[in-house]
Subunit: 239 residues, 2 copies
DNA sequence: CCAAAAGTGTTCCGAATACACCCATGG
DNA sequence: CCATGGGTGTATTCGGAACACTTTTGG
């Protein structure tokens, strides 16, 4: 890899949807400070940028190395630049030891990304943690996740982001559960279906859910090309 | 000033409202390349950050130096990190000469800010340029302005930003003109007034417009404290 | 036949839109 | 008295919210 730029980093808040809950991918910090307080903290995936990379590319690379996935939805949503953000001191010490650089101030550009948990190939030792009950993370990573969630909540109302989190084939119920998990509120089942039924880019499949002990639900898929056409006619995806 | 960090800069898109048009504050680039093509280009105000400053502080400082104003509304809306963004070459050469640093790549954090043109004290040699007919600026500054305008259009629908651009005392008509200038569409006068009339934080004054050769309009002011209360009751400022 | 979730329509209310005239002032 | 923009109300349409029952499957 090219030279690292010790002033700018990229952090990725990777959201996934599993067991009806919205989750974030966290990494266990290497235990360099073995024996000291805080050796087991969790952190967001991220890294210093290399000198010649566009930040988007840095973020994409970070993601590919971590998940084995390409073509992931990513959105830059914020910058965290407080000169004191690399605290508490043991966190900073950890960073200096693992990077081998005398960093003391890093401006980080934060992305959130959306992945289909079932189809990803998580390589490193990572943890899918429910967003609504996070432990204390290193640096300002808790704050970064809160901001990411705010951005996601805002943007999922008008962009077809839910299909990045759902499996390729999904039921309307799964879709509704996902919205409820992200927005943190219950939605009316009939009104929800009423609103999405007219969306022609949701293709009903002949397949149905299997191995459930109740009436099986129909599966759908999202047709991106149809969506692009549709979005020119009406204006997008207001849920 | 403390050491400059040659990797990160801040650029400010400063919007103002004047003569019924939305304008941006531009600076004439110093003519270091005298005699060469492009010596007269315009640019956004901005600067490299100093090592120990939060970016917000850098941006606020840039603004104060330029306008003499404090307490300006500022919003960080994007990051521009393309390694090739400091082009064409003569623009880069200009930057290297004026900064005295061998910069070759700068990630810039972009803010937009809103000021009341009449009440500002512009110090340097600057130009208020209508946003809808910009010349070619240096680097990627045209693109930055486009993105800033998109952000402003999005956010002015739900935040009371218009009062940052209007004078302290303003008429409903000025307010409507401002919305029309930003959104780029005509609004229905009666419906507009109907929507803002219930807003208790708009205080009617006894004063009226003067020196117009038609029925003078009533002046209003925005009461920020009342707004803060109001926003807790209902949800803010959806226009 | 029981449990469990799928799937479907109607009514009501508030918000958004469309639309036209009289009023106060300066010249 | 004329030109100019200020200021006001009503009728209609559209979208969001509330709400309950029948259907299909597995066990």
């Amino acid at each position: 890899m090219a030279n690292l730029n010790p002033h700018v980093s990229v952090d990725c808040v990777i959201f996934g949807f599993q067991a009806g809950k919205l989750k974030v991918l966290l990494i266990e910090r290497e235990k360099v400070l073995w024996g000291r307080l805080g050796g087991h903290k969790l952190k967001l995936p991220g890294s210093l940028i290399s000198e010649s990379e566009d930040l988007d590319i840095s973020a994409i690379r970070t993601l590919r190395e971590l998940t084995g996935l390409d073509n992931i939805y990513m959105k830059q949503f914020g910058v965290f630049s407080n000169p004191a953000r690399l605290s508490p001191p043991e966190d900073l010490e950890w960073l200096q030891k693992t990077s081998g650089l005398m960093v003391d101030r890093v401006v980080t550009i934060a992305y959130y990304s959306l992945i289909k948990i079932g189809e990803s190939n998580i390589t490193e030792k990572t943890i899918w943690h429910p967003v609504d009950e996070l432990p204390e993370l290193i640096f300002d990573h808790n704050r970064i996740i809160i901001k990411a969630l705010e951005a996601l909540r805002r943007e999922i109302r008008t962009e077809p982001l839910c299909f990045e989190l759902l499996p390729k084939k999904f039921t309307i119920r799964q879709m509704q559960d996902l919205y409820e998990a992200i927005l943190g509120e219950k939605l009316d089942n009939r009104n929800f279906r009423k609103k999405i039924r007219p969306m022609e880019f949701l293709i009903p499949l002949t397949e149905k859910e299997m191995e459930v002990n109740h009436k099986p639900a129909r599966l759908f898929r999202f047709d991106k090309k149809l969506y692009e056409k549709h979005r020119k006619v009406v204006s997008g995806f207001d849920l």
